[in-house]
């Protein structure tokens, strides 16, 4: 259980500690206390109460990625136990650890049945509540097998006196019902743009990087509520901008390139080839294909897109965003297109060939729009 925290605390030799400058910002700016957690006011309010009463139920945190689930539970257990007791009171297991049924039966059960050790004296002079139980954090619990989850059921009840479980997952439906009913559920919502932007500017100030408002709004729109993603993108962009000489400021375009977003002009061009006239005027690139109509034109465009190496799912979602609010396409045509998008998305998830499916979507949209 070498978690991020005890790397620092258990190995005092300086050469082993992580140089904070090289740390990913996601780790560096992980909230230290639960008050630091952005948004999620409701959950935080409930957890604050448990902190004062030091009585914790079993918990199930669920919500989309990057909303602070893991951060919250780590911060909470740190506040409960302090750095010295953290090591022997908290067991963190995630999908990178083996979590088959045998691990549940042995490792988790053994840890759960231990009587918590006496509270070590806090070395930093603060007093921590340090309640008489241990916490087992099962991160990414939705990737545990049904059997392993089943094996947890009785363990959770038997040792409830000395052990609390915290399951963290993205999809609550993948947690079996008996487990879910034993926990109090906390839903984490995607971050609103105000708290994302506050957090990003806070990090930017701490890292001394000038940040344009347009960059922040691009980050917010690309990450769609995933704070981790926007922080990672910000860090990558600042790495790139700092490594050129002289350092250039971060632009919205940099962020788009890092995030793998297809430029809007290319999507508009593709849409035009499908017969959807663009509303905003982009530079009209006449590539000599005006004469070629229908199938050949679509096929050629798809080949071009594939050669550029753009990811098919990205093209799909952006084409969808381009098409759905389109003013001149009728509702019926749009719904036909939506059907095509949905089928293609499923196919891509199943690992189908990208070129074939982008072509298929292209042709169906073409047919729908021109009919």
């Amino acid at each position: 259980m070498a978690s991020f925290f005890n790397i620092q605390h258990s190995k005092p030799a300086p050469k082993h500690s992580v140089d904070p400058a090289l740390q990913p910002w996601v780790e560096k700016y992980r909230p230290k206390t639960i008050d630091d957690v952005s948004a999620q006011e409701h959950t935080i309010a409930v957890l604050q109460k448990t902190l004062t009463s030091t009585n914790l139920p079993h918990m199930l945190f669920y919500g989309p990625p990057g909303t602070g689930k893991t951060s919250t539970i780590l911060a909470l257990s740190r506040q409960l136990f302090g750095p010295d007791n953290f090591r022997n009171r908290v067991l963190e297991l995630n999908a990178s650890d083996e979590r088959g049924i045998s691990i549940v039966r042995e490792k988790i059960k053994n840890f759960a049945r231990q009587t918590p050790r006496a509270q070590a004296v806090a070395s930093d002079g603060k007093t921590y509540p340090c309640p008489p139980y241990k916490i087992i954090i099962l991160d990414e619990a939705d990737s545990m097998t049904q059997d392993a989850q089943g094996a947890l059921r009785r363990i959770m009840e038997t040792y409830a006196r000395i052990t609390r479980f915290c399951l963290v997952c993205n999809y609550v439906t993948r947690i079996i019902e008996p487990l879910a009913s034993r926990c109090s559920k906390f839903r984490f919502t995607p971050l609103d743009s105000a708290s994302t932007s506050a957090r990003l500017s806070q990090i930017a100030t701490a890292e001394h990087i000038p940040l344009d408002p347009s960059v922040i709004s691009t980050l917010i729109s690309i990450s769609s509520g995933d704070l981790r993603r926007s922080i990672t993108y910000l860090q990558s962009a600042s790495r790139l901008s700092a490594s050129t000489s002289p350092p250039t400021p971060i632009t919205a375009l940099d962020i788009q390139e890092i995030a793998g977003v297809v430029p809007d002009a290319i999507i508009a061009d593709f849409a035009r080839a499908l017969g959807v006239e663009s509303t905003t005027e982009y530079m009209d690139v006449d590539d000599g294909q005006r004469g070629v109509k229908g199938f050949e034109r679509v096929k050629k465009k798809v080949k071009g897109l594939m050669r550029e190496g753009y990811s098919a799912s990205q093209i799909l979602s952006q084409l969808h965003d381009h098409l759905i609010p389109h003013p001149t396409v009728t509702a019926r045509q749009k719904s036909e297109c939506a059907l095509a998008f949905a089928e293609a998305d499923k196919a891509l998830c199943d690992g189908a060939d990208e070129e074939l499916w982008i072509l298929e979507v292209g042709l169906r949209v073409h047919k729908a729009v021109s009919s």
């Binding site: 199938f295 050669r307 298929e360």
Partner: protein, 356 residues
């Protein structure tokens, strides 16, 4: 004597011919000491691997070129032995986890933890971390990708991961958001011209531009293929005189033959004939997706405009079914029958509405 593809493979980031901004970016990242996890993606033959090895050299110096090949044995949960080939130097390690099939998660977990928990021992090393290159990352199973998630964050101090994939669609979002994405697009034809001219210059002969154009048109953006074809042509006739034809691979001509068979006649007997040909192709290890795509493209070239979208539609549908299913031949054959029926109905003008 090595192939031209290997002989003229750029060794440093400065030698790379195209995507200068990408190379400059990689160079500055390598110099900054703050090197992130990376994900290289792009079509095959665009130069992903070349860029990765150049970056490694920039990071660690010439030491990375001393490679050794190891065979490691991992135990699957059911105690089955998995053998995986590993290419490594003192500074990096390269794996193709898809070799382990369904058990790639075990390989990822064991290997990464082992590397992540040991520090760089060589005191002269330029960087404190080791690099793990994962090839064909898009064929990693969901489980294996989930196993990567926390590992990537936790062991950032000892290890960097470079993923190499054809597309990002099959990677789960948490992995993508932890990596710096590097898109390596296929070179444009001008850029390919440059590369071919460079090789010709190094080999001290003249390359007629029309031949170069022909090679480039044939390669479809795949530089590796272009250089291989180029070398083959040079072997054929050293002074590029006479009529040169770019030899198509056998399987491609074979696929075209199948397409022609489908168009010539639509009957149960013909289906049997086509099936024999498909079996032949499959037994020579041509991936079924490639077969389907090549045949479909050829068929589409030779039919009426109105039929083209339908044929591609069914090709897409049957391709997915092929992935989900087990027996590839069923789906290939089903597609052939479908195409034949569409074709025939189109000519005899029967309403197909009820069969969709």
């Amino acid at each position: 004597m090595s192939l031209w593809v290997d002989q003229f493979r750029p060794k440093t980031l400065d030698d790379l011919h195209y995507h200068e901004s990408l190379s400059a970016r990689l160079k500055s990242l390598a110099a900054s000491g703050d090197f992130p996890h990376m994900l290289f993606y792009g079509p095959s033959g665009a130069g992903k691997k070349t860029r990765i090895s150049c970056t490694l050299r920039q990071l660690f110096g010439t030491g990375v070129e001393k490679l050794k090949i190891d065979q490691r044995v991992f135990l699957s949960p059911s105690k089955r032995k998995l053998e995986v080939n590993i290419v490594q130097s003192n500074f990096h390690i390269e794996i193709t986890p898809s070799e382990a099939g369904n058990f790639d998660r075990v390989v990822i977990q064991e290997l990464l933890k082992e590397i992540a928990q040991t520090q760089q021992v060589d005191l002269n090393a330029k960087q404190r971390f080791k690099v793990v290159i994962i090839n064909e990352a898009d064929s990693l199973s969901r489980d294996a990708q989930a196993a990567l998630r926390r590992t990537m964050e936790k062991y950032m101090s000892n290890m960097r991961i470079i993923l190499c994939a054809n597309s990002t669609s099959r990677l789960i979002a948490p992995i993508k958001s932890r990596c710096l994405l590097m898109r390596v697009a296929a070179p444009t034809s001008d850029e390919m011209h440059q590369v071919l001219a460079h090789i010709a210059k190094k080999k001290k002969f003249d390359l007629p531009p029309e031949i170069a154009q022909e090679i480039i048109d044939d390669s479809g953006g795949n530089l590796r293929k272009a250089i291989l074809v180029f070398e083959a042509l040079k072997m054929q006739s050293p002074d590029f005189s006479g009529s040169l034809t770019i030899a198509k691979p056998d399987w491609e001509t074979y696929c075209h033959k199948v397409a022609d068979l489908i168009i010539q006649e639509q009957s149960p007997a013909r289906v049997m004939e086509v099936r024999a040909k498909f079996y032949e192709l499959l037994s020579h290890c041509i991936p079924p997706t490639v077969i389907l795509k090549t045949v479909a493209e050829r068929v589409v070239d030779r039919v009426d405009e109105a039929l083209k979208p339908d044929i591609m539609h069914w090709a897409a549908i049957y391709e997915v079914r092929m992935r989900q299913g087990n027996k590839k031949i069923y789906h290939l054959e089903a597609w052939v029958v479908k195409v034949m029926s569409i074709y025939k109905h189109f000519f005899y003008d029967i309403d197909m509405g009820a069969f969709d």
